[in-house]
Every structure is written in structure tokens, then in C-alpha cells.
């Protein structure tokens, strides 16, 4: 139940420097960085029966090109960080669910062996990841039979448990998990009939469209959605139809597919029930916490990273971001955070930029370089990413292409920010010229 590095009694019952909620890629990288930056006692709380989080069921390759300069599978990528956690003797508890966190950073958690327990944390790193949107959020009409799975649930059944959710499959949503599952199900002998995507573009990587769909002759129907599900006990057919510019189905375009399974890959939502419960302010766009340049939320000493902060497409960026959160949390508990100077400057996301992480910067305290990540709201070809300090444009970089499915970034330099007297706003926007 507990990690091989056993948890000391005082860590169980009383207080720990840093408690990390979640032992997936974000939590693991945060723990390693926190320890390397001098944090004393750390405790990772993981709800599953092993460390690694969702990576354990992502058995396809393509992870780690940025971090390790090689293509790893999900479990291999996780293993690299798990080994570091073990080597650094960072304690963790498995099969442990965090039930609530108080504003003054007391974590209430529970498992079979310890029962309910409370841990007082000097700092907390939120690394709970995200969950899939259910069918209900889409209001798909039809029956509600067995055989409708989110792509991630199907992935767990196939890859971990070794069960086939079905044999004839229609997939709604072309997010990467949906594409990956199209290939996985095909390789395991299922007939994947079609992937429907309501948007005019796929949210998945081009590579996945080619290697998961094109390789196997699976059609991708853009601007299509599911308009009916048949089957009173088990799915027996699914009807898809083209949608108009307002995403309303166009009568007469219906196509019916006989199938026994509908997989949904229609988006991920950061899992912030615990954050909300402790009063962490959330962004209406990302559904993740609003954080400053230290990845700290509005609740002092509470940091966030990974998919709980905003949904990433590359795990490498999760690890890097989590590393920063871990380092900042370590500084926080050691009292070595440089004092904030002046007010926090807001980062504004405008014209095509949906959001930025972080949301604010303290120019006095910030590191010399600050990575700002963001997503765009539509596909832009040969457009410019611009950064304005107040009204002055300091960055103007042309990008061959930007798409909602790919996270973008700009790097801000402290010296540029300090050079602007009376800095009120930093604006990131997309410009056509």
C-alpha cells in the first residue's frame, strides 16, 4: 500500500513540507524537482494502485521526444520518473484518495490501511490530471445501451485489463485518445468503421491521423456528429450526420453504421473538485486554477501543474511545467522565494489566444525567463504571435501554422518587463500581419 520508501509516522499523522496530490506524470516530476530543490519531507498521494497515472494505460509510443530525445511508450516514460522518485526516497501512498483540502493546507485522505488521515502541508502541489467529458455533456439523442464508452475507459479495458469493449466500433471525436484507440482496437481485431468529428478540423496530431486512421483505411469525417444511438440493451447502430457552421445536424446527410460500440473522445476537463473545495480560483476557459508566474494559485502555498492546470497535448510539457511547480513549492517551504515587488501584472489573452498560463506575473520576483503557454481558438496559417507590454509590441513571430490542438508558447524575459516603467498589462495575441 505504501511506497517502498516507507512513510514515517510523523509524515502520516502530522505535517509534511510538500504534499503532492496525484502520482501521475505531473506529480512525479513535481516531486523529483521539489526534492532536488531542497524540500525536506514530501508525500505523494495517488489514488490508483501504482504510480504513473494515465501513462500506464497509454501503451503507444511517442512520449518523451523532448525530455529524453527518444520515443517511449507511456509506461516507459512513467518508469523514468518513478525510478527517480524511488532513488530519491520520496514517500508515496497508493490506493489513497484525497477527500478534501482545507484552505490552510490540511489534506484529508483515505485508504484501506491507514483509514482516514490528515496531513498538514507546508505547500501543496495539485497534480490531479483531467477526466473525459461524458456523453451527457454532448446531449446525444438515442437510447442508452451498454457499449458506449469514453475512449479512455476503453483504453483501460483493452490495455490494462485485456478485455475488448466491442468488435464493431464508431468513434465520436478525433482527439488523440480517440485516434489512438482506433488503431488499438483495429490491431486487436475490431472493425473501426468511422471517426466522426464535429469540428471542421481534428483536435489530434497529424501523425496520429495518418498512423492511426489512414494506415488502416479508417475514414475521418470532419464536421460530422452522432445524431442517434440505436440498441435497447447493447449498441446496435449509430447514425452520424454532417453539421452546419452552427454545428447543427443537416437533415438528409445521415449515415447509419451498424456497430456494437460507440467510443467518445470529445474532450478533457481538468479535475478540480478538490481545488474548488479549498477556494482555488479557476479559469472559465481552461477550467484549471488561475496561477501566477510561480504556478501558485490564489491560495498561498498551493501550486498546480499538468492537466489539472490546463490540458496538455505533450507529456514532456507536463513534466517541465511540473518541475517548475515542484521547484517553486520547494522555495516556498524554504522561505527562499524572492519577495514580490509591486503588483502582479495580468497576462491578457486576446484576438485568437484563448488563455495563457500563467495568468499573472510579478516582475520583481519572476525568474529571468518565463515560459507562457497558450492555445489558439482556430486554425491560423502564417499568422503572427505578438506580445505587447502595455501598448508596445515586444515580440512578433510568424508561425507557419497554429491550431487549437497544439499548445503554443512564448518566452518572456524579465529584463524586458523591468524595462517598461509602470507595466500594467502583458497581452498575447494573434495578428495577421
Amino acid at each position: 500500500m505504501n511506497g517502498s520508501a516507507t512513510v514515517k509516522q510523523e509524515e502520516c499523522g502530522i505535517s509534511v513540507d510538500i504534499v503532492i496530490i496525484g502520482g501521475g506524470p505531473a506529480g512525479l516530476a513535481a516531486a523529483v524537482a521539489a526534492r532536488k530543490n531542497g524540500a525536506g519531507s514530501i508525500l505523494i498521494l495517488e489514488r490508483d494502485s501504482e504510480l504513473g497515472g494515465i501513462l500506464n494505460q497509454c501503451i503507444h509510443n511517442g512520449f518523451g521526444l523532448h525530455t529524453f530525445h527518444e520515443e517511449l511508450t507511456g509506461p516507459e516514460y512513467a518508469d523514468r520518473f518513478i525510478r527517480q522518485v524511488l532513488d530519491l526516497h520520496i514517500p508515496y501512498k497508493l490506493d489513497t484518495m484525497v477527500l478534501s483540502i482545507s484552505k490552510d493546507r490540511v489534506v484529508t485522505a483515505m485508504n484501506r490501511t491507514d483509514g482516514m488521515f490528515k496531513v498538514r502541508a507546508g505547500a501543496i502541489i495539485l497534480a490531479m490530471g483531467c477526466r473525459e467529458r461524458p456523453r451527457g455533456a454532448l446531449n446525444i439523442p438515442g437510447f442508452r445501451p451498454a457499449g458506449i464508452y469514453s475512449a479512455g475507459t476503453a483504453q483501460r479495458l483493452v490495455n490494462i485489463e485485456g478485455y475488448m469493449p466491442g468488435r464493431e466500433v464508431v468513434i465520436l471525436g478525433s482527439g488523440d485518445i480517440g485516434l489512438i484507440m482506433a488503431r488499438r482496437m483495429t490491431l486487436e481485431g475490431a472493425d473501426v468503421k468511422v471517426v466522426a468529428e464535429i469540428m471542421p478540423y481534428s483536435g489530434g496530431l497529424k501523425r496520429n491521423i495518418v498512423q492511426c486512421l489512414d494506415d488502416f483505411g479508417i475514414p475521418l469525417k470532419l464536421s460530422h456528429t452522432v445524431v442517434n444511438i440505436e440498441g435497447k440493451e447493447r449498441v446496435s447502430a449509430v447514425t452520424i450526420a454532417a453539421v452546419d457552421a452552427n454545428m447543427k445536424p443537416i437533415p438528409g446527410t445521415e449515415e447509419r453504421y451498424r456497430c456494437d460500440t460507440l467510443l467518445l473522445s470529445t474532450g478533457l476537463i481538468p479535475e478540480n473538485e478538490l481545488s474548488r473545495g479549498m477556494g482555488v480560483a479557476l479559469s472559465p476557459v481552461t477550467k484549471g486554477p488561475q496561477v501566477n508566474d510561480m504556478l501558485e494559485t490564489n491560495v498561498p502555498g498551493v501550486f498546480a501543474c499538468g492537466n489539472v492546470l490546463h490540458v496538455h497535448d505533450l507529456v514532456d510539457y507536463v513534466s517541465e511545467e511540473a518541475g517548475r511547480a515542484g521547484a517553486c513549492a520547494a522555495k516556498y517551504v524554504k522561505g527562499s522565494v524572492p519577495p514580490a515587488e509591486g503588483t502582479d501584472v495580468p497576462l491578457l489573452a486576446e484576438s485568437g489566444v484563448r488563455y495563457t498560463v500563467p495568468c499573472t506575473v510579478n516582475t520583481g520576483r519572476m525568474d529571468d525567463l518565463l515560459t507562457v503557454r497558450f492555445r489558439v481558438g482556430a486554425v491560423y496559417k502564417k499568422a503572427f504571435v505578438s506580445v505587447y507590454l502595455n501598448d508596445e509590441r515586444i515580440l512578433h513571430r510568424q508561425k507557419k501554422i497554429m491550431a487549437p490542438g497544439e499548445m503554443e508558447q512564448v518566452i518572456l524575459q524579465k529584463k524586458h518587463l523591468l524595462a517598461v516603467p509602470d507595466l500594467k498589462t502583458i497581452t498575447v495575441k494573434i495578428e495577421s500581419e
Binding site: N56, I59, H60, N61, E71, T73, P75, E76, D79, V158, N159, I160, E161, G162, R184, L187, E188, L205, K206, R207, I209, V210, Q211, D214, D215, K381, K400, I401, M402, A403, G405, E406
Partner: protein
């Protein structure tokens, strides 16, 4: 002369590339907007390769499936041959990450290896 249409996977542009070729000889690559696309298209037409990932049966372990991958790429047209061999394979726990599960799968010269650890049951 044959032609093939490809979607480039080099970046989110996803350029639609047309390759004209005779046998192994590429005559012309069009539609790409950079060198990455040209290189990808030539290789994809002459020697397309893929990494295969799946699971194999594991007995006596704390779980019943072990995730595996081909250690390198195999020819694209051998994917299903490779899957057949993977599906027939069974290993006994314990297994360590990186352990060879199938040596030289389908004569491709590429091994299938474990991508996770599986401990013994109990």
C-alpha cells in the same frame, strides 16, 4: 509512373503531398512546404515503417496483460504479421521493462520488448 497522395506528419500543417515514382525511384515530390515534407514523403513511399505497440498474455503475474512494443520500426506491411505473433505469445511473470518478449519478430530483425514491469501474483 505511379503517384501517391500523403498527409505530411511533420507539423500541424499536414501538407497534402503528391509523390510521383517508378518502383524505388522517386521522380517528383510536390505539395510540401518544407524539406521535412520532402524527406518524409520519399521515405513513406519507398520504405514506410512503424513501431507496433500492443500487449501479450502474461501468466502468474499481478496482472494478465503485459504492454509491449517493437524495439524499433518494422516495415508497415508487416504490422498484422507482427500482431499475429504478438497475439500468440505468452510470458511468465516476473517481467522487467525492456525484457525481450519476442526475438526478431517475423524475421524483421526487430525484437518485441516489455514496456512495463509485471510482478508475480500475490
Amino acid at each position: 509512373m505511379e503517384t501517391r497522395n500523403l498527409t505530411c506528419i511533420g507539423c500541424p500543417m499536414g501538407c497534402q503531398i503528391t509523390v510521383e515514382f517508378e518502383g524505388e525511384t522517386i521522380r517528383r515530390v510536390t505539395g510540401n512546404s518544407c524539406a521535412v515534407g520532402d524527406k518524409y514523403a520519399r521515405r513513406e513511399v519507398t520504405h514506410p515503417e512503424r513501431t507496433v505497440t500492443s500487449t501479450v498474455v502474461v501468466t502468474g503475474g499481478d496482472r494478465e496483460r503485459l504492454s509491449v512494443k517493437t524495439r524499433g520500426n518494422i516495415p508497415k506491411n508487416r504490422i498484422f504479421d507482427c500482431m499475429r505473433e504478438i497475439n500468440r505469445t505468452s510470458v511468465s511473470a516476473p517481467v522487467r521493462i525492456g525484457d525481450v518478449v519476442i526475438h526478431d519478430v517475423c524475421g524483421t530483425g526487430v525484437d518485441v520488448v516489455a514496456t512495463r514491469n509485471v510482478g508475480k501474483a500475490g
